[in-house]
Subunit: 348 residues, 2 copies
Amino acid sequence: MDKKKSISIKEIAKLSQVSVATVSRVINNNGRFSEETRKRVQKIIDEYGYTTNMAAKSLRMSKSKTIGLIVPNIDNEWFSQLVLKIEKYFFDKNYSVFICNTSQDEEKEVAYFKTLDSKMVDGIICISGIEEIPTNAISRDIPIVCIDRKPKDHANAYYVESNHYSGGYLATEELIKKGCQRIAIVSRNKTLSVNKQRLEGYKQALKDYGLKEYTELQLLLEPSEANYEGARKIINQLVKEGIAFDGVFATNDWRAYGVMVGLAENNINVPSDVKVIGFDDIFISHSCHPSMSTIRQDVSGLALKAASLLMDLIDNKEIQVDQRRFILPVEVIVRDSTDQKIEKSTLD
Amino acid sequence: MDKKKSISIKEIAKLSQVSVATVSRVINNNGRFSEETRKRVQKIIDEYGYTTNMAAKSLRMSKSKTIGLIVPNIDNEWFSQLVLKIEKYFFDKNYSVFICNTSQDEEKEVAYFKTLDSKMVDGIICISGIEEIPTNAISRDIPIVCIDRKPKDHANAYYVESNHYSGGYLATEELIKKGCQRIAIVSRNKTLSVNKQRLEGYKQALKDYGLKEYTELQLLLEPSEANYEGARKIINQLVKEGIAFDGVFATNDWRAYGVMVGLAENNINVPSDVKVIGFDDIFISHSCHPSMSTIRQDVSGLALKAASLLMDLIDNKEIQVDQRRFILPVEVIVRDSTDQKIEKSTLD
DNA sequence: CCTTGATGGGTAAACGTTTCCACACAATCT
DNA sequence: AGATTGTGTGGAAACGTTTACCCATCAAGG
């Protein structure tokens, strides 16, 4: 293996008989040079396949044309969709996106913040995760935008999120409208602001419709179990304990699917015995059987808002105070899992 | 916003009253220094929260502790699983992984190769995609390992893949064993080596079992349509044209799901009228209805082999010729979509 | 007491950029 | 003609590391 080495500006300069300064100016199309030299230099560049050494450029410029993206779980379709939209936005703007999958591990998140910092990223987007952003892991002054994650000091933070409160309300309302009286919520424990808000919406809807709040129906899973499998288990347990319920609001589609599987294992029919609604509207919600009602978030809107906000911050644009935070509306998608109104609950 | 600036080795040196050389030696634990200075320097480092400027380090060392990962579509669960395992492997080895989603766009892939090159990545893993690796986009001499992608010049290439030929064979055999006589294949057109091999396996199985090969049942979709939706459409068309078939081998689970939806739309029952088998064993294959038989690939094995191979190459380890290519076995997963043997085909 | 070798640590060059400054020359204005 | 402005270009410093090379000190061995 003969070590190939990439050609540098200095060599380009020698070959085209100008100074490195001029070559740099030509490459970045910045500063003054004659059309004639431009051609000559460009010719050599093309001929030798010069590419910028980004390490050197970053070092000199203290920026890297790269943004960092902190995401909890890229194998959750909801997150991968977001990631993809964000990546596309920045690719078109000639920025690279450094994707950091934290697997919901706080230590890993901190480690990634440090890495991003030392790699000189020009900005960071954080998706979900805990409210505390480890800003002390960052030594430079770079903009951070959050999605579905409300940083500790709201006041001068930048974030965009769905209206989770409204989502929780609408989901619960849908179940109520279809005749459910004892509605369980399957969520994650209170570390995540999005789940807190969905829970609040749920409670408010119960209250507004005059339904009782049963604490034994508030099932808050531990993070490690807050997925499909955890939801399945907890529903099994609920049934075993003989606690009555006729509706379940699961705060994401994976959990909702787990709920549906758990119900099926106990021969409880959806939607005739128990109705189920999820959150996110990922593919599984319409591929499962029966198809699942859910709350749809505007994934493109979230991605685009967050990305363009960060871009503006990087470009040092002045951001109006009312343009620093966005709450996007959500939408109920009614499918089979909440089909048919129960006129009279069998639970009464 | 007052511009924070990260502290440099030079400043650490001044504060701890040693030279930059010594600080560097302490940081990298390389070279000679007394225990006493180590302590003094480390104290300052901790106190001021020094982090390495990777741009400078990369520039000096011509490497970056980063590897590039080229992947077609991160929102396909199969790929995101691979990505995640690879990321974990390298995270533990203190390497970062730069994930590049090509969206199956060749131009984008080339662009990303150039980016990776200019970012000085220490190695690249390419997942799937076309056979031609744009090596001319790379100016340095870095190792490349492929997964499910057989580079043009096999001879001295590094790759690991599943046994796709065997997978195609087993899938077809499963349908045949369950009594199917006219088996369609829904795949992608021949740009991808994995699909070519699966097709070959399919053909061989037909031959071995004495079944006729019907060209009108070889449905090869264009890349842009080679997904769920494309499969759904083509099945609808097949039915409309009145072409008979009683089994479908779809070369991935998304396409298989599209097939099942298409069949359902035409009131064709799975598995009693037509049996279906997919490939990959992603979540949807057991969450759909009826649950789907499929070919399971060893995702962990693929990820681990590829990652450790690349790691060895980066570490300049000598790789035996027989350790440069790995073909991993696949496994048939039988579920409801190929349940029940048809004793006598209704097509006869 | 002089040599030798080990130990700890400093100096400075190099990595590939960008950009400030200076300078030469030409064109234009007074 | 002299002053001014504009245009194209080059020199060199700076960004933050690593490391080859050098030097000082000290202990041990002759």
